[in-house]
């Protein structure tokens, strides 16, 4: 998902078995929330630091593909909606950075990790938004997938993360509905508009399925995260659920999901779907997707160009404080 690279090899942190850890696990098993000042295993802390900061980075980088269309939104109404949505994403990033900070890493450390290219964020935001329909597809599919992942995170064992997720989920529904609304308008429009919607679905479908991360059998990190109740539903289960709810939504639009193997399986009560190109997934996560460099460059430029404003605001606050004490 927004933190899909957590499940890649090399991320595994094993829990120990000390009396403190046993007490900690007992609290987690009893569904008690863990709060910032409570004792927690170092591996739990580091896992959450990585996961929450990755999640925050995804919200922030997620503004770029959509921000690309703010100046070119087809109507003033769509433009106002898109600005509100992108502003929400900035807010989601802030909620999450705050939650990550409670674990003892500073905002500057996280920003530096993102800007240096060291920190991961969701692979999905490394795909380009070529047409206006992509803005619709992102709201419908990307935010739809995000909701599916974030609802179980509202019950995550770490209190600040769970609370941030509750706030995010309340806002996310608007994002998905405005996306579907864009798709609906295009699908009911001229043949060219409908073709544009179809094209967007074709380009976003597979990257969206990759958002849920590696298959359970390749997801080395999942078991520990499940035990700690950081993660509550497996990657494959979430992905299946996404396919099951999204296919009828595509049918309602009169659009075709680009998967020849997609078929309802009455016996399983689920859709069967084709194989995901995991090589593409790896490539994009490792920095070689269509827009990785562009996204990072935009992020660094925004950070550097904002530096004078951050410094001036702080200098002004300090000057005022000095005058008040003088």
């Amino acid at each position: 998902m927004y933190t899909q690279s957590m499940d890649l090899p090399g991320q595994v942190l094993l829990a120990g078995d000390s009396p403190e850890e046993q007490r900690f696990q007992a609290r987690v098993d009893a569904d008690a929330k863990i709060e910032p000042r409570d004792w927690m295993p170092e591996a739990y802390r580091r896992t959450l630091q990585r996961q929450i900061s990755q999640h925050a980075h995804s919200e922030v980088v997620g503004m770029y593909p959509e921000g690309n269309w703010i100046t070119r939104a087809p109507t003033l109404k769509r433009k106002a909606i898109l600005i509100a949505k992108v502003q929400d994403e900035a807010g989601h990033g802030l909620y999450l950075y705050s939650a990550a900070e409670t674990l003892g890493q500073s905002r500057d450390q996280m920003m530096a990790a993102l800007n240096s290219g060291k920190a991961k964020y969701s692979s999905i935001f490394n795909y380009p938004t070529l047409t206006w329909a992509d803005v619709g597809a992102i709201g419908w599919l990307v935010d739809g997938a995000a909701i599916m992942n974030q609802i179980p995170l509202c019950r995550c064992s770490y209190g600040p993360y769970a609370r941030a997720m509750i706030r995010v989920c309340k806002e996310e529904s608007f994002h998905q509905r405005q996306g579907y609304d864009i798709m609906l308008a295009l699908a009911r429009g001229t043949p060219e508009q409908k073709a544009m919607a179809q094209d967007a679905l074709e380009r976003w479908w597979w990257p969206c399925l990759m958002m849920f991360g590696p298959s359970d059998k390749d997801s080395t990190h999942s078991a520990q995260s499940m035990k700690w109740k950081i993660k509550r539903v497996s990657n494959d289960d979430l992905r299946q659920k996404f396919v099951d709810v999204t296919v009828p939504q595509a049918e309602l639009l009169g659009l075709r999901v680009p998967d020849p193997e997609l078929k309802w399986n009455a016996e399983r009560g689920h859709y069967d779907f084709g194989a995901i190109d995991w090589n593409e997934f790896r490539r994009v996560v490792d920095g070689d997707g269509p827009c990785n460099r562009e996204r990072l460059a935009a992020r660094v430029a925004a950070y550097e160009q904002g530096r004078w404003a951050r410094e001036a605001a702080l200098a002004y606050a300090q000057k005022k404080a000095r005058r008040e004490t003088a």
């Binding site: 705050s98 500073s106 702080l314």
Partner: protein, 95 residues
């Protein structure tokens, strides 16, 4: 040059006139005035609040979770502080 982080503020929001201010999160801001302005943008985009307090995080003193046993639990065995402790006749009214 080495960067200096803006200080951290805790944000409390009164959701409706007549209710308490409730902690809702934190943010970085150079001073109180900007902290309030940013809190408005971050935490009340959908009219979630009618009033905002911000407090420097560094100014908050907190109880220690490790003291839980000696600090909070002594209250748990004083069940006579609760009205339900008292078994009174069923035909007693207005009490």
């Amino acid at each position: 040059m080495s960067e200096k982080e803006w200080p951290l503020w805790e944000v409390f929001i009164r959701s409706k006139q007549g209710l308490d201010h409730k902690h809702c999160g934190s943010l970085h801001a150079p001073d109180a005035k900007m902290a309030i302005q940013m809190a408005r943008d971050v935490y009340t985009r959908r009219s979630e609040g009618v009033s905002i307090w911000v407090v420097p995080s560094a100014a908050i003193a907190a109880s220690d979770p490790d003291d839980h046993e000696s600090f909070v639990e002594p209250m748990a065995d004083k069940i006579y502080r609760h009205p339900t402790f008292y078994r009174l006749p069923d035909d007693l009214e207005h009490m």
